[in-house]
């Protein structure tokens, strides 16, 4: 389990090689990479700045990974989230999960990403021709995270 917040870019191949190194129990790796788009809510985005809450961010990401690990039979997880100034096509986030079989890795990867979107303290500010603005949270992200909660626990 690892969680990193950094300004630098990351190399997907190198990160996956490190994740599965010396881990012959891993038979499947699922990775999600989030990128900066040049269009959001019909406005063209020239740059975005990502702010976070140092300390709480790492704690929240580690807790999300631990929740995934207690829920699925997975071997290793990695979350990398970039902060600072980013341009369209830049990589923002990586979530990678290694497990014995693919189903657990697919599910855990999606779970971690859905919870990251609603629980980890990051905020995006977009630069558009109309000026800079803070991105509003989406209802659909909340709905995506809610679907992992069993009905009796809601």
């Amino acid at each position: 389990m690892a969680a990193r917040v950094q300004t630098e870019d990351f190399d997907l191949g190198a990160e996956i090689a490190r994740l599965r190194q010396g881990n012959p129990a891993i038979g499947a790796v699922v990775a999600f990479v989030g990128l900066v788009r040049d269009l959001n809510e019909n406005a063209s985005v020239s740059e975005m700045t990502l702010e976070h809450y140092p300390g709480m961010t790492e704690k929240a990401l580690t807790e999300i990974e631990a929740a995934a690990k207690s829920r699925w039979d997975i071997v290793e997880t990695l979350v990398i989230h970039r902060v600072g100034a980013l341009q369209p096509t830049d990589q923002i986030v990586l979530v990678a999960v290694g497990s014995a079989h693919r189903h657990e890795a697919f599910a855990a990867c999606e779970f971690i990403m859905d919870y990251l979107k609603t629980q980890a303290p990051f905020w995006k500010k977009e630069q558009t021709p109309q000026g800079a603005h803070w991105v509003d949270a989406r209802e659909s992200d909340e709905t995506a995270a809610q679907r992992w909660i069993p009905p009796q626990a809601k």
């Binding site: 809450y53 704690k59 989230h81 990251l116 990051f122 905020w123 949270a137």
Partner: protein
């Protein structure tokens, strides 16, 4: 004494990212702390209005209005998160 932190839009609107505050006796949870800050008026009243979707973390854990706050706590106010 508690440490209050503000992030993203709240940091910009309040013009500060952190402050130290001595809580009055009637402030014992997130709800009463928010109400106390709202009494500063102006942007505080606007941004912390009940209808605004403000999130609060106490000692780096997501909190609810009923979460207890006490001396020495680190309490952060911020808009709903938008990472990923």
């Amino acid at each position: 004494m508690v440490t209050l932190l503000y992030f993203a839009r709240l940091r910009e609107t309040f013009g500060t990212s952190s402050e130290q505050a001595v809580l009055p006796d009637q402030v014992g949870d997130v709800r009463s702390l928010t109400e106390w800050l709202r009494q500063r008026g102006g942007v505080w009243q606007e941004e912390l209005a009940a209808a605004r979707p403000v999130r609060v973390a106490v000692n780096q854990d997501m909190a609810s209005p009923d979460t207890t706050v006490r001396d020495g706590d680190e309490i952060a106010f911020f808009p709903p998160v938008t990472g990923g």
